[in-house]
Amino acid sequence: MMDISCTVNGKRRSFRCSPAETLQRLLKRSGYIAVRNSDDGEGFSGSDTILFDGVPRCASLLLAPQADGHEILTPDGLARARELTVVQQAMVDAGVVQSGYNAPAAALLLTDLLQRIPSPTHADIDDALSGLFNRATGYRQFYQAVELAVTRRGNRSAYAHETVPEFREELKHVGKVRAKVDGRKLVTGSRAFVEDAAAPDACAVYMLTSPHAHAYITAIDTHKALALEGVLAVITHENCPDVYYGQAGQGFPEPSPYDRRMFNRKVRHVGDRVAAVIAEDEEAGRQALALIDVAYEVLPPVLSIDEALNPGAPIIHKSQVVYVTGAPDRLDSYNVDADDRDGKVIYQFPIHGDPHRNIAAAVEGGIGNLEKGFAEAETVIERTYETSQIQCTPLETHTAYAYTDGDRLIIHASTQVPWHVRRITANVCGLSENKVQVIKERVGGGYGSKQDVLLEDVAAYAALITGRPVFYRFTREQEFIANSTRHPMRIRVKLGAKRDGSLTAIDMDVKANTGPYGNHCLTVPMNACSKSLPLVKCENVHFSVTTCYSNIPPTGAYQGYGAPKGNFAVQLALAELADELGMDQLDFLEKNRVDAGYTLEILRCLGEGREGTPAPVSSCGLGEALRQGAELIGWGRHEHSANPEVKIGKGVVLVQQGSGLPGLDHSCADISLLSDGTFMLHSGGADLGTGLDTVSVKFAAEVLNVPMDAVSILSGDTDNTPFDTGAYASSGTFFSGSASKMAAEDLRIQIIRAAAALLDEPEQNLSLRYPGEAVSQVSGSVVTYRDLARALLNGTGSGQLTGKASFTTEDSAFPYGAHFCQVAVNTRTGQVRVEKYAALQDCGTPVNPELALGQIYGGVLKSIGHSLYEQMVLNDRGECLNASLRDYGVPMISEMPDDFRAVLIETDDPFGPYGAKSVSEISTNGAAPVIASAIHDAVGVWVRDWPFTPEKILRGLGKID
């Protein structure tokens, strides 16, 4: 061990460290928690940024002893007390602080930038942030943050949001730029995440994972590992709970099958769980992993859809198949050839799975008469598209911390679904739900992958059997091999149209690869249909979905769910059809798009695991989005590059999503009047960084006519807030927000009633007035909330007022949008550069305009990444060859389009709270088809599979075989 001393955040500090310890680790364990590790110390993502002698460096790429005698500034050393720095405040106001895991590092980098260059250009900002990965918001709004910070250095009170539009003039908070309620906490690097809650002496989970994609464990010996000092337990398939479950955090009963135990005798992907070591320290944990002897019977891996569906293919789940309801006839004979070593597949209800043929789920449906539709068509095209497996790459990897408290189990989770985590872990651990508390901490990026329960089950069970606090966090590499990803899909689309462009028939066949387990195996591929087919008017539509098991890394939910894939296929097929018809693509879309009032009959057969219902388009901003987008992109104007090898092209596509799952989602909230006249709001909603808590607070403050600061919120805590199905399917604002609004409206009624009694006036005379009082419109009498609360709580009053709400609905509110882009294709190298991108989106009333814009920018850049750069490369053994952020190819600020614009198209949806609809997921649905369409416009090549690599472009151009 070595002793070093250095100056950290202006104070002289001495530390004891080993020669091997990185500076990041030393600082983190010494309380500088904002020096984080999100990339296994790769020096890529920037979460470990510090100023080392005034220069930004990656603390993971410094040994702790190197710091001896040096001066260090950590991100949490920027702010003094409660005062945000100009840069930090500007970041919050510009909307770049969302999931916030890297926000403190960004603040540090921008602070350094402004010290070096007082008035930086965009290129300077790009350079300063070049070592920072920001998955949530893209990077565009950092320009605004810097601009604001520069302005405010001269004038601290400068307006926060001149560059962000505001909406709904008649409302105080909704549609206005307001500081995100957790912005301060996140940007300063305060304790916010699960890792910050873990006790320093917590044990940790060290997972032994499978080196084989497909194998039986024939023997496992853990004795030597268990004998090691510091090892508390080893969990394997031999001693884990004999409980089948699924990791998909969906509403119960789930459409996803229960096809796994915590540990299984059969491993089904490289990285699958084999044994969990619970150890007191890292050395013991790692040694123990090396001491576990495992023997495998290796089976041939199945990696592709074709391989999986091939008759005679190795079977991934040759399991006993069980149905909770609706078991088919002859199930006994079906199960005759099941292998006990494969365990069970339990369906809650039939989803047309046939695991013994590697089919996890299947469904088909349609409206009208397809044959007749194609017979009426004068032009028919049929194309096949493929999408690839894509990683969510949240900066904060999956993390859980669990401990026991008496006979209860407490789980701190980075999750989008606290109540599903409680239900699933309680089930796995053999506890009733009242014995489990799940506390959702701030979520440092989820994007769907934290809808799945990937490690909470192990952490919880480990805490239960050891009685010790247990921390479990995926490394970045584990995130690549064990996290939920986008399902790879192959989608065949057949379209028929009349010569004038009217669609007469659509046939869509989706083949999806769910990988080793059936997370979301029915609903993601169905969503590929349900969020793409309803964008156009067509009376004859048919779809079919088949999802197969395989041995690729796991799949599951990812922002957009199935829509980015289905929409890629349908929108690109529409572009190809327009081309075939010789029609302008924009005219063609205008002719066929839906509009307000149109009834979406196709949704009758696209319920998520239940019968669907047709729904009307309650509001639709598509027309305006297309009009404004065409202007922004210069539609119809052909651009030329100075480089003759470079060709320019443009594209346009339509996008849509839903706002939660009507008939399935359920959100609750309550809000109480406190004794000083302020409010405490309890929302079940799980804010995963998107600003849902801010939405809820805005709604409550709007209803109760108070400043937002008068409403505090606690959310996503299963003990202390009411039920919510969770943050997925774009449900946050529509469901959880509606519950908060309705709870406030309930409280408003109670306030008026209590105030009327106090003032001795009829209730109808009273209204609520800003900044927090009830006033009689007749007598002018006034009682402030503060006085009212005191009267209610003085020992003689009627007690605390609490408004409650339980929100469910059958009504749908579909967000819409049009995405335009301009690409430059280098015909020499095949490289594609997105020069311009305009995403125009109708999210009804944008409740948090700056955050909504950030989500659009973030969603678009993610999907640009999926389209052009990102790729999980597997070898024929199913091993991921590029399990790091750099090798995988996530987009950084340098990949941002040169001209990048998000535009909010306002509509007032009759069903959404204050007219609001969802905004986040839809943003990921446009980039793939619009870029592919623009590539064709540029060079005449249709690229029909992700990612659009230079090699595919060159092949399309005939330059390589």
Binding site: T22, L63, T829, R886
Partner: protein
């Protein structure tokens, strides 16, 4: 918990003089490595198994100085310092910017990048193309520090000879040499599909033609190797000879020269055909770029 640790490192040494640094390295043998910026030695999945880190920070090895016979760049000069120094040749600045992250550039050093000898090196291709020399320091049997100037090709070709040497500086003397480079990437910070550099001494003849001499054609990429079986960053000596002898009449000549000397293979990251095409296209483009700028009388390539 589960934060990164450089597991293998058992010992950290921080010498204050060159002799001490070399003595540390010599004493600890092959498992000791010089530690400068840390971006190579401490990088994720580094192939180096470091047991002893010899930290060079207290040695005065940074900085750029100009002498009559060229430019001397201290081995521990960071990429950022290279960019900020007006005398550093443009071809080197271009290559430095292939490292897309400023935060990394603040740490990465010129000697560290060269010494790592990785196939995806930012600087190695241009340094070979530019024919830079390395000022190497070694501990003699007499216990004294000996310094010698070695061509970079020697250093690359015989790593076993220079295993204990410290790159004290990088020397660039031929200011008139043209050097151009290209690094094709899918996204800026991803590993390159392909890196290439060409360097040459170009003379403009009275008839307006240009003659090339001492050419260096350097290539690196996943799934490619030279006809001699070289992998990593390697030279195409046949192409160099063709360029020097003026045998390249048109692009097709160059394409064929490259194709005859580059072997490509198909793997999960790309096909042999793609790589074969790209090798030819990139080398051709670089050659044309250099020829056009040099022969038109402009500043030659990205060189000074």
């Amino acid at each position: 918990v589960q934060e990164k640790e450089q597991e293998m490192i058992q010992k950290y040494l921080r010498p204050t003089a060159m002799a001490e640094a070399l003595e540390c390295k010599s004493r600890e043998k092959e498992k000791a490595y010089f530690l400068a910026g840390g971006t190579e030695l401490l990088r994720l999945n580094s192939p180096l198994h470091v047991e002893t880190a010899v930290d060079l920070q207290d040695l005065d090895l940074s900085g750029v100085s100009i002498a009559e016979d060229g430019i001397r760049i201290g081995g521990c000069t960071t990429f950022t310092e290279l960019l900020d120094h007006k005398e550093v040749p443009d071809f080197l600045k271009t290559a430095v910017l292939y490292a897309g992250s400023r935060t990394l550039r603040n740490a990465a050093t010129i000697a560290g990048n060269i010494a790592a000898m990785r196939w995806d090196s930012y600087l190695l291709p241009v340094c070979i193309a530019a024919k830079v020399r390395l000022e190497l320091a070694d501990l003699g049997d007499d216990g004294l520090v000996h310094q010698e100037s070695v061509p970079i090709r020697e250093f690359i070709s015989h790593p076993e000879v220079y295993r204990d040497s410290l790159i004290a500086a990088v020397l660039h003397r031929n200011f008139s040499r043209s050097v151009v480079s290209e690094r094709l990437v899918r996204s800026r910070q991803a590993p390159p599909e392909f890196s290439a550099a060409i360097g040459a001494d170009i003379r403009r003849e009275e008839d307006g033609n240009c003659s090339f001499s001492s050419s260096r054609v350097v290539l690196a990429g996943r799934g490619i190797r030279s006809g001699n079986g070289d992998v990593g960053v390697f030279r195409l000596t046949g192409v160099e000879q063709a360029i020097n002898s003026g045998d390249i009449a048109d692009e097709q000549d160059l394409v064929e020269a490259v194709r005859s000397e580059v072997l490509t293979e198909t793997d999960q990251f790309g096909s042999a055909g793609y790589r074969r095409y790209l090798a030819s296209a990139v080398i051709s483009d670089l050659y044309n770029r250099m020829r056009t700028s040099a022969c038109s009388g402009e500043t030659s390539g990205e060189g000074r």
